[in-house]
Symmetry: D2
Subunit: 328 residues, 4 copies
């Protein structure tokens, strides 16, 4: 392999562990409103999947005193890719070593990001096998469309707050092979403000945005995917009467071009719902779209729709400033 060729060892976002002080309510939200299925409950954790997620689960909800990110787990491209990345990470101060895996996947190599988010890489994975009663005649779909809530189809991406935007961005690109799709930079000094990063053809699998509170390791949101904008309005109908707080949207982002809606699950974490695919980028030659900070409001953040509220830029979990918008 030529030195100039990009690293392509990380394949996709595998699952996210979300911490919740109200795990039963969090599971209610994901199952009854978003149509996910709880495939397992063990100790303080529940494992959940959307109906087109191919693996056993994409969301692990774990009880905790505060909401936030437990860890994020990425699936690599091959067994060899796992070893290559583990070697690279072991040589840095961020490697945390091998673990035995978890329910639904094999051995993982754990690491921390420069900002302190816990992550891991894994290869072996358990595919979901639907029982007869939820099996579908649509052979490329892991199970039937659920008949409750307005069901999301699959996990989409992860968004984190960081106080180490430069180090994080460099780390994801250099050590993990992320492509830097879009960035926001300061108008005057070109200093990096936010990054959208991808290992797939999605506009982004991961975004990192500045933590206004200067904290570390905080969680902004996880996104699930509908594919049809109409479903954002459908699920909003359920949410309005079920007391789920909608923070923003539906609208169309400039960055990513995706149709979005942001809501709070009852445990206090933000969840994004994607109404379409936004743009897909198959160009193998990484090119980065650069937005000046002043170009973002009403253009990069929102191409069609109302301005995002201030809380979008300041609230993350665990919350630092009280009160939480969830209590509103």
């Amino acid at each position: 392999m030529s030195e100039q060729e990009p690293v392509r060892d990380v394949a996709q976002l595998g699952h996210v562990e979300m911490l919740s002080p109200r795990p039963a309510d969090t599971v209610w939200f994901f199952t009854e409103i978003l149509g996910l299925q709880e495939v397992r409950k063990e100790g303080q954790s529940s494992y959940l999947r959307a109906y087109e997620d191919p693996y056993e689960y994409t969301l692990k909800v774990t009880e905790s005193a505060q909401p936030g990110l437990g860890h994020a787990s990425w699936r690599v491209a091959s067994e060899a890719a796992l070893q290559r990345r583990a070697d690279v990470l072991s040589q840095s101060s961020l490697g945390r070593g091998w673990n035995d895996g978890d329910y639904g996947h094999g051995p993982g190599f754990a690491f921390a990001t420069p900002d302190g988010h816990n992550m891991e890489l894994f290869w072996d994975v358990q595919y979901f096998e639907a029982p007869a009663e939820t099996r579908t005649a649509l052979l490329n779909r892991p199970q039937r469309r659920p008949n409750r809530g307005v069901p999301v189809r699959r996990i989409d991406h992860l968004n984190l707050f960081t106080s180490h935007i430069d180090e994080d961005t460099e780390f994801y690109c250099r050590d993990l092979g992320f492509k830097l799709r879009e960035v926001i930079v300061g108008d005057e000094d070109n200093s990096l403000k936010a990054s959208w990063l991808a290992v797939t053809a999605l506009s982004h699998d991961l975004a990192i945005m500045p933590d206004a509170a200067g904290a570390s390791g905080r969680f902004h949101h996880i996104a699930y995917w509908y594919g049809a904008p109409q479903h954002l309005y459908d699920v909003a109908d359920l949410m309005r009467d079920a007391g789920v707080v909608i923070e923003a949207g539906p609208g169309k982002h400039g960055i990513s071009q995706a149709m979005y809606m942001y809501v709070y699950e009852p445990g206090g974490n933000r969840v994004e719902l994607f109404g379409d695919a936004g743009y897909l980028d198959f160009d193998p030659q990484p090119r980065t779209i650069t937005w000046k900070w002043s170009e973002v409001p009403g253009r990069g953040d929102v191409w069609v729709g109302a301005a995002l509220p201030d809380v979008f830029w300041t609230y993350a979990t665990p919350a630092i400033e009280a009160p939480s918008p969830v209590a509103v």
Copy 2:
């Protein structure tokens, strides 16, 4: 690189050369109905692009006595990847050697598929630069949404007839690194009938289906992408009154899960319009969905919507049997 790791040297469908006996009408169809832009006209050829195609063009329309495929051109993942694939292809009887490139891209390595379709690989490419009057404030979009027709956003995939389904499928997977996403096999003998192949996260970048006439090198369709199902109905309104023949749809495929509509451009070639992304597959471990031949009608071919007409399974360009459905 471990031997077990898949080849990932071909990155995406770059462009397709479509032959047309009525090139002016073909260009009218793509520009006035589908909103493409003619970026260049040279000799017997016109070069066209959809408004979110990042490169200079994705469609080359060339005058010819018969409709059909001129060639298909794939962009590779790197300069090194181009050399690796050229080496592999040169060792087989299918390699046709290097060319100097064409308008909009650098040197290409030409080859024929086992069924005789002309293709090439290239790396260097010219990105589209919009003139000031069509530049958009949406920085990740190459140009403004056109204000004519119901504009498609980007090229999606290619579909070919073949009389060498086994050889073709093996060739694409082994020599070019395609993943075999879905197949149709005979109920009794498991013989391969049709293949959907991908180099990206799309359900397929290329499909090959049996040529009922036993011919070689024929073209079934090229697909452009809308992303919104509504646009299929919008463009159908224009087509009905403009005399464009709609062959099938809108409907939802089982294989690919995509929202489709098939039409004939005035030169006689079939064009598919995709109303959404269907499923996206980020799993790095190739798994092939297998449909029995008997499971396809009204399920694999069409999950929601009417049965595809017989002509869908028999007509390709150049046409063998008269009369062409375009004359209907």
Copy 3:
């Protein structure tokens, strides 16, 4: 009131009584797939409502040896309007006299159409009052969006087979004040073949089509309304795996311009689902759109989408020819 002014005494389709040999399965279909609510069960009948129907119910399912129409019930514009229409109907051979009403509405005046369909007119009606747990903060909506199936919003229209197209059309217009929105006539003789009739701004509240079997009093379909085309595809996903037979669509009608899908409920009756409003006609001056019989296929019946299958034009309930398409 001037003599030239149109009769406007019939206001809307109130409810339809559908006969079913499998009433439990029929109710399952309407509640679990289409999201209706069973508000009452009494004797051999169940009363059902869609979530935006303002009255207590719009569908009465009654057990019967054969599927078909029990009766259709129209709400009039006022108490005086009811008396006026009763007077007119009493003077013809079609009047059947007053009844005491039924669950959910007051006294009705019954009549038969020339083809023998049982109908009634009523004025007093019981509005639905949602219990606290299904009440919504959206004050103009009678109850929350249900969280099961893909819920339809309200009743839309009724479609009947007739062997008395001339007499029926004249009767509905003259005695009940329907506007004749669209008709199909023979190419040679201009003989009436089918009629679309409205008392509201909808393209039609009632359609009558020729009974190919020459029978009388048969039922073609009842339509419920979604308002969003996406929901046709959503509910189709449920139907495919639940064994519900989809007869035709989704597609866009020429006549009415509405987005349609036709399915069979388990009792054997056809049900149409409307994905949008089609056109609305507020013109107070009745103008009739005339389609020649030869203009209907692929244009009047279907503007966008596949041809309707033959069974659409021949099957009605009670079925005359075996086997029923439901058994397919």
Copy 4:
């Protein structure tokens, strides 16, 4: 006719005369962005129509020093209805007498509303006859779907500011037969704050809202109808790059349940685009939905989407406070 029966003499909104200080730009907006057609230009006025408007025009743009409402024109249900309403209006101080009509319609009876908006009633109307080149095979559509902009289908409703909410509401209901669909009232004193009124099955043909500046005769917006929510996002793409200011939306209103977007045409008038039909109300018995003032923000005004900006509640034309939001 019984005394209790409602007046149903006004049938529909016929057309609106919009004043513009930049008439050429206003016409550009309606034709190039919204796809209307200019059917006539005469003196200082242009006459425009959407492609499914049945009459010759629904919008008259007239040059004027200030933007605002020229007049609104309602079509009545019959010749007799016109005389009846003229009689009633003549007996009040609001009648302004008969005129000879205008291009496209016959004699009108002019009147002023209590707040001073100029209006008229008319019966005779000229239907649009498409020339051969824009005629469509879809017989119930007056002309082909235009191939420019994102074309609206028909006029929907009118919204006015008033400083005489009580008198206006009573006037529209009593003298013109409007049904009072929804109102906003003060939390403490039940005083009327805003009214949504209908003569058709639409949620409203006319809305009147309080003029925060205490002025009279001002214009809030005219609405055109798409029928498909996707088109709001499509046209927004054009508007963003064409410099058209989007004030609010897309979102879903609580009152009316319609999908909306508000924009400013270049002359300074607000235009609403409706993405679906909202709810349709066929109930002949007028029932009024009552919203308390405190229930409106984020519920009655917007059921799904961001809060409406303050300018929505204060800006109308002619503008009183500078600067106009159009200059933003």
